[in-house]
Subunit: 327 residues, 2 copies
């Protein structure tokens, strides 16, 4: 800037103004400055700007996994809606582990993001302390925590799975099993399991059996492998309530390989409205949680917050039961 200023015969300050939308620079001066800058090969340094203004133009986002069509869809919704805002997303994956999340968030915060978007409402204590000391918008998504860190956009996993259990009870199923990951890492999965257990009790069904498909993240192959390992023992159930559609698809494939008729011998349900649920034969009964809309709603909330307007603390994206041919 100094070099450009010298050539043009103005101060660096004027050059600075000329490169922004500052209207107080005369058109003539601005033109001369642009020309000189081009000739000198001067490139405006956004790193310095970010440093000086303490505005990074980043929104930090954590996802449990990038390799999950649902989270990817949320990210897409967020990313598309944010496009016009000039903000850039800074993405990190926690691998479903809160310790990793903490480490990741520390790393992301070092970049001075202007907002922090987290997936889920479970965090380490250190992380909670760290984040609540910050003065920047925090949004938790895919969950509606009882004690949110800031804003929350999502749905209740317990209520969502209850839709499935009610549907199964309504169609005469009684002996249910829940297929999901071992306790620990996947807190949203754990909430779904708890929700299924609670709903079954409420409806007077027998206790829901837990079928452990391994440690999170569980997907198609885990569901399939676990059911194949069970063999005929799976016949004792009326319905297999799976933690996600990919797991349900694996379970469905395994059941058919074992000669079970779905839904005549056994019902299978998924969660999340993944593409595979609506393409498999038969289609898998599932819950559409509006992954895309979650991302879009987060973007909307951020817009409002950046405009310094008051935004709702809690945005509920209502889940919707989608009945397929597996139940």
């Amino acid at each position: 800037m100094r070099d450009v200023a010298e050539v043009v015969g103005v101060s660096p300050m004027t050059v600075s103004r000329a490169f922004k939308d500052d209207r107080s620079v005369s058109e003539e001066t601005r033109r001369r400055i642009r020309r000189a800058a081009d000739k000198l090969g001067y490139v405006y340094d956004s790193t310095a700007t970010a440093f000086r203004t303490q505005k990074s133009g980043f929104v930090a986002v954590t996802l449990p996994s990038i390799n999950n069509a649902n989270f990817a869809e949320t990210y897409r919704g967020l990313s598309v809606e944010m496009e016009g805002s000039g903000m850039q997303l800074l993405l990190g994956a926690t691998n479903y582990r809160v310790e990793k999340e903490e480490e990741l968030v520390r790393q992301l915060l070092a970049r001075n993001p202007e907002a922090l978007v987290l997936t889920g409402g479970h965090h380490t204590t250190a992380m909670r302390d760290l984040v609540s000391a910050l003065r920047l918008p925090v949004i938790e998504m895919w969950d509606l925590p009882k004690a949110p860190l800031g804003h929350a956009v999502g749905f209740s996993n317990e209520d969502a799975i209850a839709l499935v259990v009610e549907h199964l009870a309504g169609t005469g199923r009684r002996k249910l099993a829940f297929v999901g990951a071992s306790e620990g890492a996947d807190s949203r999965g754990a909430e779904r399991r708890a929700g299924a257990v609670a709903a079954a009790r409420r409806l007077g069904l027998p206790e829901v059996t837990f079928i452990d498909a391994g440690s999170a993240p569980v997907s198609m192959r885990h569901g399939a492998a676990r059911i194949e390992a069970m063999g005929a023992a799976v016949r004792e159930f009326d319905a297999l309530v799976c933690v996600s559609d990919p797991v349900a698809f694996g379970v469905l494939s395994a059941c058919r390989r074992m000669g079970l008729r779905v839904p005549d011998d056994i019902a299978i349900t998924g969660f999340g409205h993944f593409e595979v649920a609506s393409v498999s034969e038969p289609r898998i009964t599932t819950v559409d949680v509006g992954a895309r809309r979650i991302g879009e709603a987060v973007a909307g909330l951020l817009d409002t917050l950046f405009a310094e307007e008051t935004a709702p603390d809690r945005v509920e994206i209502a889940p919707r039961l989608v009945v397929g041919g597996t139940s």
Copy 2:
């Protein structure tokens, strides 16, 4: 840093050193500094570092789509392998469009990345000019372009699909159709189609028919819908060579719904070794292109380049045919 230094009773300079791998700080001092920093809620400011050192610590990465298990897996491999390097990935999605890629890269370059990782070897002319004027490492992946911008890590899509056609020819199939996206956006898909056509010619098979499943990206539902729309006309083929596993899965579901026996009446093949290929019933014949390994190899290449050592211009990740029950 000054605040932390005051609490601990050292100079800011020592705090700075403590936060890096500088061994000249005593372990005792370092521990005390870490503790004080945690208590004060101090967060190291990478923006300032980036400014001062003129190094952003960013690697810019573009992917056609984040919502594709294969690209997600490449990103994961890259991300995991880069973890120790202190570099942060800056991700952007091109939606399979070179114009969008150009816009995206301009945006990413404003962050002064220290390297640029692109998917594919097709770019706009302006983009080629822009990038070749830069003095930073450029890596193209998922392709081995004839005129690479810098380094390339991947495989030949034409050779990879030839593995499939050879396998089909070897098992007596003659009348092949290729199911993929309309020409235009997905250049890797177009290369696969061209490769299938060339391989069939080489093997003396009849001309390969093109079945257009719509504009990129095509997935399960597009494959299914297209085949269902064709109805009985699909019976004229011995084999359906699909541009990807998700498409193949959709095609498989549609064929079964229509009462075709796979592989007796018709063979179906996919591409990419997605999870769905190995869990569906029957398993889908596919090509494992080493998505994860591509990411890892890119990370390795970057390590070498950042160490100012000479790195190979071209790293081939050999694709591998995986025969399933659909052929």
